[in-house]
Amino acid sequence: MANDKAIDVRDLVVGFGPRTVLDRVTFDVRRGEVFGFVGGSGSGKSVLLRTIIGLVPRRSGSIEVLGTRLDTANAEERRGIERRWGVLFQQGALFSSLTVLQNVQFPMVEYLDLPQRLMDEMAAAKLDMVGLRRADHDKMPSELSGGMTKRVALARALALDPELVFLDEPTSGLDPIAAGDFDALIKTLQETLGLTVFMITHDLESLHTICDRVGALADGRVVATGSIESMLACEHPWVRSYFQGRRATAVNERFANIEP
């Protein structure tokens, strides 16, 4: 493969009015890895995600996704890239007027020219893969629980077999069991489908169990990137308080006992 980086962000600056949210952010995500991004509430993680996928304009810097410079790409090239990624929004962002099955079929209808039978089968298969029962396929999004909404949103993000998926706090609002299941699901799908996963999370368990590398955002900059072990050893005050705080220590200890 010519380029082993799925996402390559250089000196990205994003701001609203007089406020600079992201100040020269630089990091990259390698193909096939699960990259977790942490940062305090309001630190600009979601803004970073939304800038990469093109919902928020940048002030300067470059964004390269799957080998294409998105900031200079024309509409045609952009569509080509958008077709190769999937996005899971924090609240699911399911289309409320479509059923679960139609939500998953939506990208197929828009991008592919497939017989209805195959789309039905594929949407059902995707929903099966994320663990949604057949009885729930014809429900409306307003009838789903939080965990089911996230599963359906993941199935929709995976509808076109993307190479890259963006997950915005996939386990927030789920109970620990459901969050653990969801982590396992992401890991399984990542392994079987060879996905690259970029996820924003607050969930220390997710960082420990499924992330290959972690990046930390503080004061509008990426202050550390590396494996979870290197994060634990990091000297930056915010990273220290995040990974060495009272809540974090309990999780760290548990994982220290499991891992030899």
Binding site: S97, L101, M129, D161
Partner: protein, 378 residues
């Protein structure tokens, strides 16, 4: 994109060997679908088949599913089906797909159209009944809330009421004046144009005066209010319902009717008569201008004729109707707002229903008032 996929059959002594090649991916899903359907048709069910996947260039869930669909379709026949040489890197993916549920998705059932229209008729009738109950419920809740305010005047929410009065009353003045002014102009122009033929010019003023003060003024304003403010009420309450704001209010021990609905309805009931008065004046003014410019009637004569034609009774008839129309618009708008369910579509549907129903009820109410005033000689 990768190379185009193919599946070639090689008949042999031990059965048929199908050798797959190319990219079995989403980009080629359409042609793959055709290939698999052809193969399902042409391969005899009683002959053993081996699918050789050794030389495929790529496989994703679409390709894996189509292979799996072929294998599942052959399960009913006597010939065995074997998958051979699947590259190691795709094994987990294929496992995942092959363990999905077996029963095919059920296509939606279509009932005969006659049954559907009967069902629709029944649902519409039941819906109409539910609407009446909702309307009565909302009216009752408002009366109870009003009674609470009368018993304890300090509990009245004066600030939100003023806020809504500003929005539905004050801010609506320019558009209401413009529209009623134009309506007044048009009525007068039409009157002169047609009455002139039989020399009844003088009676145009009677027509404009009575029509505007008694009927048109209040009707136009009420219909505009239903479109402008009723729809806003429904959309506001509906999105509050969607985001659980109304539930939050309830759990804090506050009745949404007291907090959200009563101030809105009182604002509407105050604003609509005021706007009706202003609108009627604007329409009379417009009629006067046309009488002067088009009908050649001097303003002094117009005012004099108006004074003779329009009695206080006509004015009262128009003004008495205004608060009742405001109440109907407000009750319908709030009831529809609380009927919003989770989806964006439902918000749009209820907002449309709110405007349509309130305009309909305003006109029905106007008819009932006409009967009432006729019977009391007003």
């Amino acid at each position: 994109m990768g190379s185009a996929p193919s599946l070639v059959a090689h008949p042999g002594t031990a059965g048929i060997e199908l050798s797959a090649a190319g990219s079995w991916t989403v980009d080629h899903a359409r042609s793959l679908d055709g290939i698999i359907l052809d193969m399902m048709r042409t391969t005899p069910a009683d002959v053993p088949v081996t699918i050789n996947m050794r030389s495929i260039a790529a496989l994703d869930t679409y390709g894996a599913w189509l292979v799996e669909r072929f294998i599942r379709a052959r399960e009913s026949g006597s010939g065995s089906t074997r998958l051979d040489g699947l590259p190691e890197r795709y094994r987990a993916l294929y496992e995942e797909i092959s363990t999905t549920e077996r029963d095919a998705p059920q296509p939606a059932k279509h009932r005969p159209s006659i049954l559907r229209s009967i069902a629709w008729l029944g649902q519409a009738a039941a819906g109409f009944g539910r609407d009446l109950v909702d309307f009565a419920n909302m009216l009752g809740a408002i009366v109870v809330s009003l009674a609470r305010v009368v018993a304890n005047p300090r509990s009245f929410r004066i600030t939100p009421t003023m806020h809504h009065l500003d929005r539905v009353g004050w801010q609506a003045v320019p558009i209401m004046l413009l529209i009623t002014f134009l309506i007044g102009c048009i009525i007068a122009q039409q009157g002169f144009f047609h009455f002139r033929k039989f020399g009844a010019d003088a009676y145009v003023v009677d027509m404009v005066g009575i029509l505007v003060v008694r009927e048109i003024g209040v009707l136009i304003i009420a219909i505009m209010m239903a479109g402008r403010s009723g729809s806003a009420y429904t959309a506001e309450l509906g999105s509050m319902k969607m985001r659980e704001e109304i539930d939050a209010l309830r759990t804090m021990g506050r009745d949404p009717v007291d907090v959200l609905i009563l101030p809105r309805i009182i604002a509407l009931v105050i604003a609509l008569p005021i706007l009706t008065f202003l609108g009627s004046m604007a329409a009379l003014y417009g009629g006067g201008l046309v009488a002067w410019a088009y009908g050649g009637m001097s303003p002094a004569i117009y005012i004099e004729r108006l004074r003779e034609a329009v009695s206080l009774t006509h004015f009262e008839v128009g003004m008495i109707k205004a608060p009742f129309m405001a109440l109907v618009i407000g009750v319908v708008a709030c009831a529809q707002g609380l009927a919003v369910q989770g989806s964006a579509e439902s918000l749009g549907r209820e907002t449309t229903a709110s405007v349509v129903k309130s305009i309909f009820l305003v006109i029905v109410l106007d008819g009932l008032f006409a009967v009432f005033f006729a019977s009391v000689d007003m």
